[in-house]
Symmetry: C2
Subunit: 443 residues, 2 copies
């Protein structure tokens, strides 16, 4: 992974720490969301696999080092610094919650403990990959909740913010509960089930719809999904049924989907295709899906694109990455920020999950009673401790854990009161101590 | 570029065309926006370089081919099809408007002419890269317009939809008019000026703010930007001034930016730092910038992150990729769609730009009088015709062409009437012919 894929200031700070003789300092940074994105009562953590791949492979090539040397910002740096970059590898520790775990404001998705420079440089990449994938996994969980047991498939790569974002959106959607994706590379790389048959251009590429359907049936047999809205949806449904032979079902992509689905269902049933499924696509979201489900619309599978991969109603993940501890020459300092809008708590943390609430505590605290510590070691001394769960395992984790949340938290709207995140006595004490120290020395 | 980075149905359609004996068919597809994103009066085309790199390098590795062979969708395909995939390369033609060109609804960003399968597979990737970058370049142009001559810098990689999206967002922001980016890889790859000095964690990593500032000055000298809001913004400004020595300026990242900027300006001026600049960051957008500028707020540089890289008010590019012509065994057919919401026009097109309007015409039409044909050949027979303009050249093109648009189009709100896109007589005639043919044969 190219070490330059970060904000320049991470690299100038790395240089500055080098110059200030702080290469021996060890830092602890935490990545978390200060508040929930709008209408969310939890966020499904995702993106850990990419975070780990990044940390284990982060390096600076010779050309990259030369590029930095030529920048004015590095003109005062000795050759030793550039040699350190050439030799750079991540030697620290990573703690994280398993992918698929629902999290709440202030709870770390991950914690990095490493030499200051190694912990600073990854900030940008970690925020972008964990923040984005968590956003999409969360949106996926909303769609799946709304679908109430019917299937949701991710179809949005073309609308993603770059093709690479499409691959990660497919992965995150699957973790959040979608049954699969249209993104073939995501299928190949992550073992995610892939879906898709034909577009309008297929129908247009043949002299008429009947021939287009017949040719598709030649290819896909019982797996065929006929896209029936290119010319006239009900005509399309009739043509599909008249062709005979087995097929999986039909897809509607335009018009009044609720009315059309009912009418198409009648056409298919009357033709003896009671088992044929109806898939709907076209600007769907959780609210439209909820209306279809509530109204008993005969749609079996929802294909969602745009709104899922860009998380349209909440496209900004808002995650932050904050320094919480720093050890300089054997002396440990806790850092925090105390302000109305942007306060943060000092010290490395642990999250203890109980049945009805979480306790956010210091990392060396112990949970009491029936609870689970969510943050677990993933990388230790620069080495991966054990293989990460697959996307399918992360998905199972999400389904299980989201399913266990109180029903009111799975509402599509903000619930009040939200899930309780209580601060442990030790964390409160530490926070008060740090606050009075900071007030004492005036910053 | 991995051929699997596409929707599965592009590949099943490719297989189906193979099976139907249509590998000799030649198709023309156009990529365009049916309508403007909200509040936009034009869209700045961007992403052509990535589209070209993709087309020239698109291929299928052996593992990828084996993955497809194992999918049920390809179970009926003969080995010859997989051999064709192994040998796949793009042999067609690409026409496109130069990056930085403002476009309007219905006008092609690019046109692909190629064997049907080669034109079908790229749809997903082309939409995602051109759509996304055009969205961000457009947002950038809005921010730059609002800033009225003051500088805007892109700082948003951490909020982008994946780290790779951050690199492309940096590139697109620069094309749209930003003066540079914090994304170092974008600087390295595309020659974009890079900016950035230090974060709050830098200030927190030293025993006090004064030492943090001094250490930064050691590194950056006259280029230093002090981030002054970690503890108390005005105190921070005084500390920066007291340090003595040259520095570039200060950065404000929280609080009431307008009030703080005025107060900080006074502190700096009184200390004799009349040349020191003030940069502001923190959830900025074009409307806030406009208010600062209108109010004469002494902010010299705006750093914009989230709202720029995810184009918050319009995160969906909505671009589409449509089949407009198909040649089968020497016979050419024009394809179109006629419906209230989703109609498209048949045939390959050209855009002629006049001073006060565009004329959308058939590709073989001629412009009359003082106009420019916007779509130009880029790839011919699978080969790049000439080197593409650099990001800096694309930026100059955008500045020049957007600057030439009537002022009312550069409003932050929809202008009425919008820029006129007239259909040429020939295009209208073709459309009517195709429509009556389609009605004749009932689809």
């Amino acid at each position: 992974m190219n070490g330059l894929l970060t904000d320049l200031y991470q690299l100038t700070m790395a240089a500055g720490y080098h110059l200030a003789g702080k290469t021996g300092d060890r830092a602890v940074f935490e990545l978390f969301m200060r508040r929930m994105p709008p209408n969310r009562n939890f966020v499904v953590a995702a993106g850990l696999q990419q975070a780990v791949e990044y940390l284990l492979n982060l390096s600076f090539g010779e050309e990259e080092v030369r590029y930095l040397k030529d920048l004015a910002q590095f003109s005062r740096m000795p050759e030793r610094f550039f040699d350190d970059l050439r030799r750079f590898r991540f030697t620290g520790d990573l703690y994280a919650v398993p992918e698929g775990t629902p999290l709440f404001p202030g709870e770390p998705f991950l914690t990095l403990r490493a030499p200051l420079m190694e912990a600073q440089i990854p900030e940008t990449y970690l925020l972008a990959t964990v923040g984005f994938q968590s956003l999409v996994a969360t949106k996926s969980a909303r769609l799946v909740e709304a679908a109430g047991g019917r299937a949701v498939v991710e179809f949005g790569t073309r609308r993603a913010h770059s093709p690479e974002a499409g691959v990660l959106a497919a992965r995150a959607s699957y973790i959040g509960g979608c049954i699969g994706t249209s993104n073939t590379l995501a299928g190949f790389k992550y073992g995610i089930p892939v879906f898709g048959t034909a577009a309008h251009s297929w129908v247009q590429a043949f002299p008429n719809e009947a021939e287009a359907f017949r040719r598709l049936q030649d290819l896909l047999g019982a797996g065929t999904v006929y896209l029936i809205d290119t010319y006239d949806t009900l005509e399309g449904a009739r043509r599909a049924a008249e062709l005979g032979g087995e097929f999986w079902g039909v897809r509607l992509d335009s018009g009044n989907l609720a009315e059309l689905a009912r009418a198409v269902r009648v056409v298919l049933d009357e033709a003896g295709y009671r088992g044929a499924k109806i898939m709907a696509t076209g600007d769907l979201n959780e609210h439209k899906i909820l209306e279809f489900v509530a109204g008993g619309t005969p749609i079996d599978v929802f294909g969602v694109g745009t709104e899922l991969v860009i998380s349209s109603d909440a496209p900004n993940h808002g995650a932050i990455y904050k320094l919480v501890e720093l050890e300089t020459e054997g002396e440990r300092r806790f850092t925090a920020k105390y302000s109305a809008e942007k306060s943060t708590l000092p010290g490395a943390k642990q999250v203890f999950r109980y049945a009805q609430r979480d306790v956010l505590s210091t990392a060396d605290d112990c949970g009491t009673g029936d609870c689970e510590a969510l943050l677990r070691p993933v990388i230790y001394g620069g080495k991966l401790i054990e293989e990460l769960p697959s996307a399918a395992e992360a998905r199972r984790n999400a389904m299980e854990r989201v399913g266990r949340l109180p029903k009111k938290l799975r509402s599509l709207f903000e619930c009040d009161p939200p899930w309780e995140v209580e601060l442990s006595g030790r964390l409160k004490g530490l926070s008060e101590t740090v606050r009075s120290e900071m007030e004492g020395n005036g910053g």
